[in-house]
Symmetry: C2
Subunit: 462 residues, 2 copies
């Protein structure tokens, strides 16, 4: 709880109806989609204008209160858990699409705009915003930018970072910083845009985002390649890229995940398959046809038992909806799911898949593996029960074993979920202490009182 | 000059043959491709290993000597002029391509690798590194990364920043910082890679670069659209994109530039045309054919007098070579050329072209305009003589007028040349003082003694 005078100050600046101090309200914002200990904030505020957001920043800084800004809180790394209490600012009222410029192919949005709503809005104009994190139906663009969210289309189209042309954000003093441009090229000053994207709210509070748009690909074809041998499936991923085909989407599901998804969504997945590849190619009709044929024959050469091509858009959408339900499907099976995103160079996917199977056996834990195989970005998902202490220890050991293996294979701790709270203690495994020190110097210079989302990514300075 | 003991220390650490203290040697590194006052460094060193480079950083930091690292020095913003003297480190001996990974489509290089050599090396394996700055025949990849160099393919393929997956660099203490990854997705820690790209050597000294590669597009078609009215040409640029066609290259040349290029390279350009668009589309053969047809008919609709399609690769290459010679061609005409790169949203290209013509008349200066119209990135090039003081004053006023107009049209000071020394005094015109303060805090935290390329981008703290 914040003291009464300060509470009044927040009410005065943000409007009484946008300040929440009751425990019930504060509890709602004590956790996010990561499996981590909740922390109850002292106050929750809902700025309804950019100006109100800057007041929140100023009041927190002046009073030494930590400030955690969040959208929908769908991140999987604890990036929005208010580690040190303080104030949580929810951006869902800052939800205006301020501009969609068709001629110059960009849009300007407030941080609280829901990702899928924005995607639909630009698609209705023949434009395309590719980043599509699993939580896109509820996640916000501000959250996506803060976490540098990925999705199913990273292979061909990149991730959130690749679409942020510019930002407006408040520094810790509440001053408005403008960075980037509405031009497709910009080499003006330090790339603060690039630094802020993925910095998880630790370096500034985003108030406006300029997003790049591209022409909407009209022609698509999706197919499912069914394998009776998991290694043949994972080896096919690199084989497709080696033939210089870059599908829009190239997803992998193991048997465990196939069964979970099928039982959840009944779309007719082959529940006896060892693994599936779900592949979509897009582009010019002739290109689509050629690529689809090449991919299908490659899959057959690599040992696929069957190839099913989606007959129409409805069938295609059904498959993608099923794929998108993988996390929900697995989450229904046990009280706790831990979704990891250690990522490897794509040629190492076969090794990683085998390693995850071995880790599952070694620690006696069910692990469903699916994910963006084309990006080398798998989501090994451990099913467990957080309340079982003995089992939880094995879960923690398994997670560390997954990280170690990914790094051994030349990979990285996080492909798209960020470091947040969940992985900050592992950061030194991947980067040098010099990199952490360098990052901490940036943080200390820009937020000397450690107000902005403290404890995330780089942990606490020693 | 540095003192004798320190000179000996450099010789001991870097090898006597790699340390140059004679005035003649130091003069060579007192300037770059920008039209700015030269500054003579006290010492020039040529590290032949990463370790030697780290020694240079350490010695400079310990002795409070400014350090300016440079590749070929082809930048156009004074980014490599050793503003405060000190030491210039030349990276041309760090020129190894360490790895080209075909399967995972990336390469690892040292900073001194020449851009065009690298591009050729990856193309021989069916891969593509798109960034192609005008100086690619001599420029280095390290310099390209430091300046975030652009080129002719920005519209479809992006700029240097879009291809840097990871870096190794030395911080000012000479400690090795590793950032980014060999994976296509990476959300691990602060995006130091993104921060370093374009920071012009002010935040660290790059020793290794991981570059993303993509499949080489095999099919291409180039054409020239000849206009008798400059506005019809500039309006056609936005019309092409509005029809959702994204050419690989979409270049504009005004009559002044056409004449200069033709007289320089005799490739048969139409010297009486008011303006030319040079357009290349690439991709699947069917896509190429369709796009080429659409572009040609659009150009005709918009009033092109003639369309010439390149008959074969040789003819295509000839046109691009001519285009690439534009700066050299203009440079032959007067003792001094000032090549600007103020950039606007592409729909504002017609306004910008007219504004440049008006500025040319107002200040009575010949200005040739050409550039990457598809990116909104024009290069108005002022022909002058630096020694004529009265004229130089008009040149400075014309440059400022160009910047003001670009910003008025929603553009930016620099599309691809960087801010360097040349534009740092104009930075506040575009960004807020808050953005400059934010950037200066980063610089001060990472380089407290202001050793690394002082005076660039953010100028001197007040």
């Amino acid at each position: 709880m914040v003291n009464r005078n300060l509470l009044k100050e927040f009410q005065k600046r943000l409007g009484r109806e946008n300040v929440f101090s009751e425990e019930a309200d504060r509890l709602v914002y004590s956790y996010d989609a990561a499996v981590l200990k909740p922390e109850i904030p002292g106050l929750v505020v809902r700025p309804v204008t950019s100006e109100a957001l800057s007041h929140a920043v100023r009041l927190c800084n002046e009073n030494g209160l930590p400030l955690t800004v969040r959208g929908a809180g769908t991140n999987l790394s604890g990036g929005t858990i208010p580690k040190k209490g303080g104030v949580v600012a929810v951006t869902n009222a800052l939800n205006k699409i301020l501009e969609i410029n068709e001629e110059d192919m960009y849009a300007v949005v407030q941080p609280g705009v829901v990702t899928a709503k924005f995607a639909t809005a630009v698609e209705s104009r023949g434009l395309f915003y590719p980043p599509d994190p699993g939580s896109q139906a509820v996640s916000t663009l501000g959250g996506n930018v803060a976490e540098n969210a990925g999705g199913l289309r990273g292979l061909k189209y990149g991730v959130t970072r690749d679409y942020v042309m510019g930002l407006q954000f408040f520094d810790v003093d509440g001053e408005l910083v403008k960075t980037g441009s509405r031009t497709v090229k910009c080499a003006t000053g330090y790339n603060l845009t690039g630094l802020l994207v993925g910095s998880e709210g630790t370096l500034g509070v985003i108030s406006e985002i300029i997003l790049k748009l591209i022409p909407l690909p009209v022609h698509k074809r999706a197919m499912m390649a069914i394998f009776n041998d998991i290694s043949r499936a994972s080896e096919t991923v690199a084989a497709i890229i080696a033939h210089r085909i870059v599908p829009a989407t190239l997803e992998f599901l193991d048997n465990f995940t196939i069964r979970a998804v099928e039982s959840y969504s009944q779309v007719g997945l082959p529940v006896d398959a060892a693994a599936l590849l779900l592949i979509e190619v897009d582009g010019h009709p002739a290109q689509v046809e050629e690529d689809a044929d090449k991919v299908a024959s490659l899959c057959r050469e690599m040992g696929a038992a069957e190839i099913r091509v989606a007959k129409d858009a409805a069938e295609r959408d059904k498959v993608w909806e099923a794929r998108r339900s993988a996390l929900s499907a697995l989450a229904k099976m046990k009280p706790t799911v831990v979704l990891e995103d250690a990522t490897v160079p794509r040629s190492k996917i076969p090794d990683m898949v085998l390693a995850i199977e071995e880790i599952s056996r070694r620690f006696d834990l069910p692990i469903g593996t699916f994910g963006h195989a084309g990006d080398g970005n798998l989501h090994p998902t451990i099913l467990t029960d957080r309340r079982n202490k003995e089992e939880w220890k094995r879960v923690e050991a398994a997670i560390e074993a997954i990280f170690d293996k990914a790094l051994e294979l030349g990979g990285t701790l996080s492909g798209e979920h960020g470091i947040g709270l969940a992985k900050s203690c592992f950061l030194e495994k991947e980067t040098s202490m010099a990199a952490i020190t360098y990052s901490r110097r940036i943080k200390a210079a820009l937020d000397p009182k450690n107000i902005l989302n403290p404890g995330k990514i780089i942990g606490e300075s020693p």
